[in-house]
């Protein structure tokens, strides 16, 4: 029978089926971090259950770590305790930890792919909903709750019912200045925040085929924002080239053998999906959000829609926007380029390409937070850091930072922040903070002009977009 990419990976990981119930799904890699793991370790200890496969777990500290002076003790005592507990738990259970100060430390969804931990055809989980990121490699990757973290600790398996499948195809040529972030914001704006609930998505079509791995990760990262547990892209030469030679990637003959297997994974030509959507690349433009969920997005040149609905009005009231208003020209005082959605080297190259030779607007606080120590090192080596610094941007150390404001990096109440992160929920970036989601290019342009501007008019000379 014809199978989808999702079917092939899922079916090859089913250990057993519970009669009239879920399946036992085997998990290849389990990523953990300081916020959603302590209660899982405690659960195991209370029940006296050992870790089943400690070598398949990798830990890092990312969610609440400071992005300044990481060599000094963490000032926030609760964060400090959580990070210390992760260190202690990893030591006690002999789990690999890339903690603060380690050259591999970083946002879990940036760190694992760049180390070659993420590979096609795997199943991966993490107590973080943006685990969907790793689907960019043709991997079944999804976020889990802490009870499930404990289950994977105890058995390297989860009890799950197989989700339905949906395919989202985007074909054609993207306009100049339209980035992967715009593509996914466009898709979510079209489909809504719960269109994917109960489904695993596959992104197909030449737009994704022509995208870099960094771009594919940005797209898959936000699958959860339309409710899908995960999103996948078929592995191809771009994928193999990215994985090749990375620290934990298979080497030599083993790598060749893997490639032969990975090439069997793409969806069969006549496979059937439960749901299909299709969009034209030409219709996509740089996007911004105007509301308090990622589905509330518009093309940057459009007006905020009018809708008589209590939740919609509550959302606009929080954002301080009016129905029918334009976002172009709005004064913005905060810009954040970072998060597991957009903090990889390509994101900073694009932002730097635009910023080069320009100065940030006086009213703007512009924060650059690399996704990992390796990205931080790379932006220094490539001279990108100099460009940001010369333009007046502040460069920090790696972590989740102002995406969710668990550390000190918060946006003040009432202020707008054009952010490359993934969620514009009320209070997400700090109590009362108002988030406008956008691509790294739109964020860079906002920082330079101090207001929301249409980048499409001034990007002809840019090389990278």
């Amino acid at each position: 029978m014809s199978k989808t990419l999702f079917d092939k990976v899922w079916d090859s990981h089913v250990v057993d089926e519970v009669k009239d119930g879920p399946q036992i799904l085997y998990i290849d890699k389990h990523l953990i971090h300081e916020v959603t793991s302590p209660q899982a370790f405690a659960e195991l200890e209370e029940r006296n259950i050992p870790l089943f496969r400690k070598d398949q777990i990798v830990a890092t500290a990312d969610h609440n770590v400071p992005t300044k002076d990481q060599h000094l003790p963490i000032q926030d005592l609760l964060s400090k305790k959580q990070v210390e507990m992760l260190t202690e738990n990893c030591k006690k259970h002999d789990v690999t930890l890339y903690g603060l100060g380690h050259p591999y430390q970083g946002i879990v969804h940036v760190m694992a792919p760049e180390l070659g931990i993420t590979q096609p055809g795997m199943t991966m989980v993490c107590g973080d909903s943006h685990t969907s990121t790793h689907g960019a490699f043709g991997t079944i990757a999804f976020g889990i709750g802490t009870s499930q973290v404990a289950q994977v600790f105890a058995s390297q398996c989860l009890l799950l019912s197989k989700p339905k499948s949906m395919r989202i195809s985007v074909n054609g040529k993207l306009k100049k200045g339209v980035l992967p972030k715009d593509v996914i914001l466009y898709i979510i704006a079209k489909l809504g925040t719960n269109s994917g609930t109960g489904y695993f998505a596959e992104y197909a079509g030449d737009v994704f085929e022509n995208m870099s791995m960094e771009g594919r990760m940005t797209v898959c990262n936000m699958s959860i924002e339309m409710g899908a547990r995960g999103g996948m892209i078929a592995p191809d030469e771009t994928t193999f080239e990215y994985v090749k030679g990375r620290e934990f990637a298979p080497k030599g003959a083993e790598f060749e053998k893997k490639i032969a297997y990975w090439k069997t994974l793409p969806t069969d030509a006549d496979a059937v999906f439960d749901k299909e959507y299709s969009f034209d690349a030409e219709d996509i433009e740089p996007m911004v959000t105007y509301g308090t969920n990622p589905g509330m997005g518009i093309k940057i040149s459009e007006n905020i829609p009018s809708k008589d609905d209590v939740s919609f009005e509550k959302s606009l009231e929080y954002m301080g926007f009016q129905k029918g208003e334009k976002l172009l020209g709005k004064t913005i005082n905060y810009v954040f380029i970072g998060s597991c959605t957009n903090s990889r080297i390509e994101d900073f190259r694009i932002a730097a390409d635009y910023i080069k030779g320009k100065q940030k607007a006086a009213n703007v606080n512009a924060l650059i937070v690399p996704g990992s120590q390796q990205v931080a090192k790379q932006i220094k080596e490539e001279g990108i850091q100099d460009i940001f610094e010369a333009a007046g941007f502040e460069i920090r150390q790696s972590g989740c930072s102002a995406c969710l404001g668990m550390n000190e990096d918060k946006i003040p109440a009432g202020e707008y922040c054009v952010s490359t992160s993934n969620r514009n929920f009320e209070g997400r970036q700090g109590q009362g903070a108002r988030t406008i989601l956008a691509s790294p290019l739109v964020a860079a342009a906002t920082a330079i002009s101090g207001k929301i501007v249409d980048v499409s008019e001034e990007i002809e000379e840019l090389e990278l977009v």
């Binding site: 057993d16 916020v35 609440n64 973080d128 289950q151 009890l159 609930t197 547990r229």
Partner: protein, 196 residues
């Protein structure tokens, strides 16, 4: 996990759609290392004003409403995978959440903590919210074994879906860990049989 078979309780109406887990429990309260005490900060930024005083307009703060059931707008629990959202709701005293739609991860987390998510039709949800607002003393009856929700003496009665395995777990207070650990032999055999 506590067993759940039936529940008769008043309910608190929260007619907001797309309630995400950042609203249920904001990220700044996720720094605890145990599961206890999250109820204190449930819906923190909706329950309290900026000056720390209670927001009297918010349903959870209105004396007319009480109960172990939360009736909420469409797409409840979207966003972050934080199980802290389920812990905050149970710690506050909720046993059941009724909505016309639940986000996947939240639904799983709720079931793993003995918190029953009941999905009803949008029409029934509307009816429930209206009935509770009109008469806050209205009691909802939930029967997990027979899988229905009703308000006695009215025409509100709806059956709901639940995975048979999860239903068994809820009714007996079992969780997945015991089951998975008991399958260790099968899991090891699977590992040994893999070619990739």
């Amino acid at each position: 996990m506590e067993k759940f078979v039936t529940l008769t309780s008043r309910a608190i109406p929260l007619s907001i759609e797309n309630i995400d887990t950042d609203q249920i429990i904001p990220a700044r309260f996720l720094k605890a290392t145990s599961k206890a005490g999250f109820g204190e900060n449930l819906f923190r930024d909706w329950r309290f004003n900026k000056d720390g005083s209670e927001n009297k307009d918010f349903a959870l703060n209105q004396d007319i409403y009480e109960g172990k059931i939360l009736v909420a707008g469409d797409n409840f629990g979207c966003g972050s995978s934080r199980e802290h959202a389920a812990w905050a709701l149970t710690d506050y005293g909720f046993k059941v959440i009724v909505s016309s739609y639940f986000a996947d991860i939240f639904k799983g987390n709720a079931l793993n903590n003995g918190l029953l998510p009941i999905q009803v039709s949008p029409e029934t949800l509307k009816k429930l919210l209206k009935t509770i607002k009109k008469d806050p003393e209205t009691e909802l009856v939930i029967n997990l074994e027979k899988q229905y929700l009703t308000i006695e003496g009215t025409d509100v009665k709806e059956s709901f879906e639940i995975d048979a395995y999860k239903k068994m777990c809820m009714m007996n207070g079992y969780d997945d860990i015991d089951f998975l650990v008991s399958n260790k032999d099968k899991i090891e055999a699977f590992e040994a049989s893999r070619t990739f």
